[in-house]
Symmetry: C2
Subunit: 156 residues, 2 copies
């Protein structure tokens, strides 16, 4: 099948397929006489695996590991399990970080509830966060600033 068909069958964007090939996540596709890529059912399966992994939030690197583990049929389950559990823990950590963020932001917004007052509570909170329930008033954050999680376009 042609690339657009493989894209439709796998739910993976056409250009993304080429990207995966470029970075070596997919091996180079066979070519027809005209130079067009030609995909087999097995390759579409692999693509599905990848997109599914992405949907579960695995990085491409993790997916590559999973694919490698999937290919050795013997005794790989424990490794897969470990990887999945680590990844789950990572996701849960991110959820907690976002929840803290949301809580703090909600508190800040609440302070502003009145509306048009002289000094905006949100802005002054951004300038100097009020210390209501502030357990982490660390003056020197030893881990350095965190990446501060912002995804450009998660439609979710």
């Amino acid at each position: 099948m042609k690339i657009s068909e493989a894209a439709a069958a796998s739910g993976c964007h056409l250009e993304t397929i080429r990207y995966y090939e470029r970075i070596g996540l997919l091996s180079k596709a066979a070519r027809r006489d005209n130079g067009y890529r030609d995909y087999t059912h097995a390759e579409v399966e692999r693509l599905r695996f990848i997109t599914r992994g992405r949907d579960l939030g695995f990085s491409l690197e993790e997916i590559q590991s999973l694919l490698a583990l999937a290919e050795q049929t013997d005794m790989s389950c424990a490794d897969v399990d470990r990887l999945a559990r680590e990844h789950l823990a990572d996701i849960q950590g991110r959820i907690q970080a976002l929840q803290r963020m949301a809580q703090e932001l909600a508190r800040t917004i609440e302070g502003c509830a009145g509306g048009a007052r002289a000094r905006c509570a949100i802005l002054s909170d951004l300038q100097a966060p009020a210390d209501r329930a502030a357990p982490n008033a660390t003056p020197a954050p030893k881990g350095g600033r965190r990446p501060a999680v912002h995804r450009p376009g998660i439609d979710a």
Copy 2:
């Protein structure tokens, strides 16, 4: 104060400060005779504002809006409030997306609980997700594939 001092005072990485200047989030700093940047207290305040906004998950673009709003002292509170609420909704959406992910992943891991069996449940689930409680079996995802949230290094 010099850039390293401004960095320490604001909790913002030194190179990040230069980066913010480069992209115009900070105006160009004054220079000493030797060419070193020289920061005032007000600029450190602005930096704090930015880092605080990042901690709350605002994008740099949003922060720029907030800063602009903060500078017009009159009647800006409603806009700020709206921005903050939109951002909160966005964060909550991301939390939900991650929670769905975590749930599905947890289910998948559970299926593997036994350990070393012939076919790994996690891997087969990645290949063809079991349809236990699958409300979104859309064959044609109209929104295109979603970005599949993965932050490289959120230490959380």
